[in-house]
């Protein structure tokens, strides 16, 4: 089933971390396996890199901690070698990290070099995007990563009921649109031409970290945007290129978009006001952040909607 949610504040900053937790937690019944956030904080000159060196449910053998520490040091070393000036590397769990670096070079080269460290997966890269995802419900993940104090402008999130790929962090949403800065996707549905697109995109040099069909959307959008498309055009084209049933949300540093397939087979409820736009698989998620009576609507089939700040 899975549940997705998004919120964008038109002008002001807000507690998007706690807002997204409330939205996702109200849809826990749609997916209790894992929860994930793509949060946009204030833009910075630094590049924020979220990465993990192991999975939450990896077996802990006897040198687990020492091995992760060696790999963390190797990541730092490689960041320096590729020309990034490391500002800080913080450990949020025993396997997930947040690094801030000063770097002007090619993000793909940076991501590829860092991910060459055993067990390393870059979850997000950008000047304001931070992807946090882990096993359990949204409240557990929020508590684990201290997301309640996260202030920002917009966010998307996902609660996952695993169907075809493993219950692990790599299979959790959101997906970063590797190697595109500050782009992420959450998806509810199934893509039936997944392998066709995966092979095509791999031949173009893109990498996939999971067996999850949803990762295709992020990489697909990344490629379209790298070719010069805007977010809305790329999403519009995806309706022609992607087969299956889907509602997905995509975010960039200043925009939030949603697309529905031609059968409108996956739910989405939308609320718009002068202050914000909120959307989710179920209206109760929107009501989790708005404590007054609201008017909502469901977009129709093949609709692509994008809001920008």
């Amino acid at each position: 089933m899975c549940g997705i949610a998004g919120i964008i504040h038109r002008d002001a900053d807000a507690d998007v971390g706690s807002e997204m937790t409330r939205m996702l937690q109200s849809m826990k019944h749609r997916g209790p396996d894992s929860s994930g956030y793509a949060l946009f904080g204030p833009p910075t000159d630094l590049v924020v890199m979220r990465f993990k060196l192991a999975d939450a449910n990896d077996p802990r053998d006897f040198d687990f901690k020492e091995r992760l520490e060696r790999h963390r040091q190797e990541v730092e070393s490689r960041l320096s070698k590729i020309g990034a000036s490391v500002d800080r590397v913080e450990s949020e769990t025993e396997y997930a990290y947040r690094a801030t670096v000063r770097y002007e070079g090619d993000l793909k080269a940076l991501a590829d070099y860092v991910e060459d460290v055993p067990g390393c997966e870059v979850l997000s890269l950008g000047h304001s995007l931070e992807i946090v995802k882990d096993l359990g419900d949204a409240q557990e993940v929020s508590d684990l990563y201290g997301l309640d104090g996260f202030r920002g402008t917009h966010a998307i999130g996902h609660v996952r009921m695993a169907t075809e790929s493993d219950v692990d962090i790599s299979g959790a949403h959101p997906y970063w649109a590797y190697p595109f800065s500050d782009v992420a996707v959450v998806h509810n549905g199934q893509l039936t031409n997944y392998f066709q697109w995966k092979r095509r995109l791999e031949r173009s040099g893109h990498r996939f970290q999971s067996e999850c069909d949803s990762e295709i959307i992020a990489v697909y959008l990344a490629e379209k945007m790298a070719e010069g498309s805007g977010l809305k055009d790329a999403m519009q084209q995806s309706l022609e290129d992607l087969d299956g049933v889907f509602t997905y949300m995509a975010v960039t540093e200043d925009s939030l978009g949603v697309a529905k397939d031609e059968m409108a087979a996956k739910p989405l409820v939308l609320y718009e006001s002068d202050e914000l736009v909120a959307m989710a698989s179920e209206e109760i998620a929107i009501r989790a952040v708005l404590d007054h009576e609201i008017d909502t609507y469901d977009p129709y089939e093949r609709q692509v909607l994008v809001w920008s700040r």
Binding site: P32, D55, N57, P59, D137, A264, T296, D298, Y300, E301
Partner: protein
């Protein structure tokens, strides 16, 4: 020494079931009418309160305040009564009902009134997909737009939407009427077996085996009567669509006979 294990995650897969919930008894009852605030109650508690009022206390007029778009409210009521929801419902609202007159002063999510046998459901705002799915009878009136697959598998009754309808409206409908006062999305009446669809606006595309139908006085009478009952004014001019009955399931052969056909 550290344990050889990863982080363990546990969760309660029963979700919102609450099998041990009790009737909250929070209604104010006056002159045979009951009102209660659903805001602080769970889905199970709201439905238990409704059932207690209608079945145990014999109340025939219940108002539910602050339903908060919760799912599955008012389901399975098999009794003539009046239920008013002062706000919006989530998914599967007032499904499996037989007899109630339901007024919803808000919007509804997917699958409102699914499998309704008889009764009336009036929605003041919009409805999500699958409105009136598989209804056998009764009237479902939506004063705004309705989503995709409205009236899917409909087996009787009437669905009226004053706004637009999404794709595949009337998909596999078998009997009954669907009345769309606005535009209809693609795949209208796809694979319908029988029944009638009226559309006042444009139709993006007809579905397989859905064809224009001939207008009769009975169509005019039906639409005028339904519009009069629900205070909807004068019906606009409609196009009528019916089943073309050329799909495989309309040939004259039983499956066992079909095997014997030699070309």
């Amino acid at each position: 020494m550290e344990p050889v294990t990863g982080r363990r995650i546990t969760y309660d897969a029963r979700g919102l079931a609450e099998p041990d919930a009790d009737v909250p008894h929070v209604s104010e009852i006056q002159n045979g009418k009951a009102v209660f605030d659903a805001g602080p109650l769970s889905i199970r508690q709201i439905n238990l309160e409704l059932r207690d009022l209608i079945y145990e206390q014999g109340i025939r007029d219940v108002t539910v305040q602050n339903p908060g778009a919760k799912h599955s409210l008012g389901v399975g009521i098999l009794q003539r009564c009046r239920i008013t929801f002062e706000g919006s419902l989530g998914y599967f609202g007032v499904g499996l009902i037989d007899g109630p007159e339901v007024q919803i002063n808000g919007r509804v999510g997917w699958s409102v009134a699914e499998n309704m046998m008889s009764g009336v459901v009036v929605i003041e705002k919009v409805a999500g997909s699958l409105a009136g799915a598989a209804i056998r009878g009764g009237d479902l009136v939506v004063k705004g737009n309705v989503g995709a697959r409205t009236g899917i598998d409909q087996k009787g009754g009437t669905i009226i939407a004053l706004g637009d309808a999404g794709s595949m409206t009337g998909f596999m409908m078998q009997r009954g009427r669907i009345v769309i006062c606005g535009d209809a999305g693609p795949g209208l009446g796809d694979s319908m077996y029988d029944g009638t669809i009226y559309v006042a606006g444009t139709v993006k595309a007809l579905g397989i085996d859905c064809i224009p139908g001939g207008w009769t006085d009975a169509d005019t009478e039906l639409l005028e009567r339904k519009f009069r009952i629900y205070g909807l004014g004068t019906p606009p001019a409609f196009q009528k669509f019916v089943c073309g009955k050329v799909l495989y399931n309309y040939d004259n052969l039983e499956p066992s006979e079909r095997k014997l056909v030699i070309h």
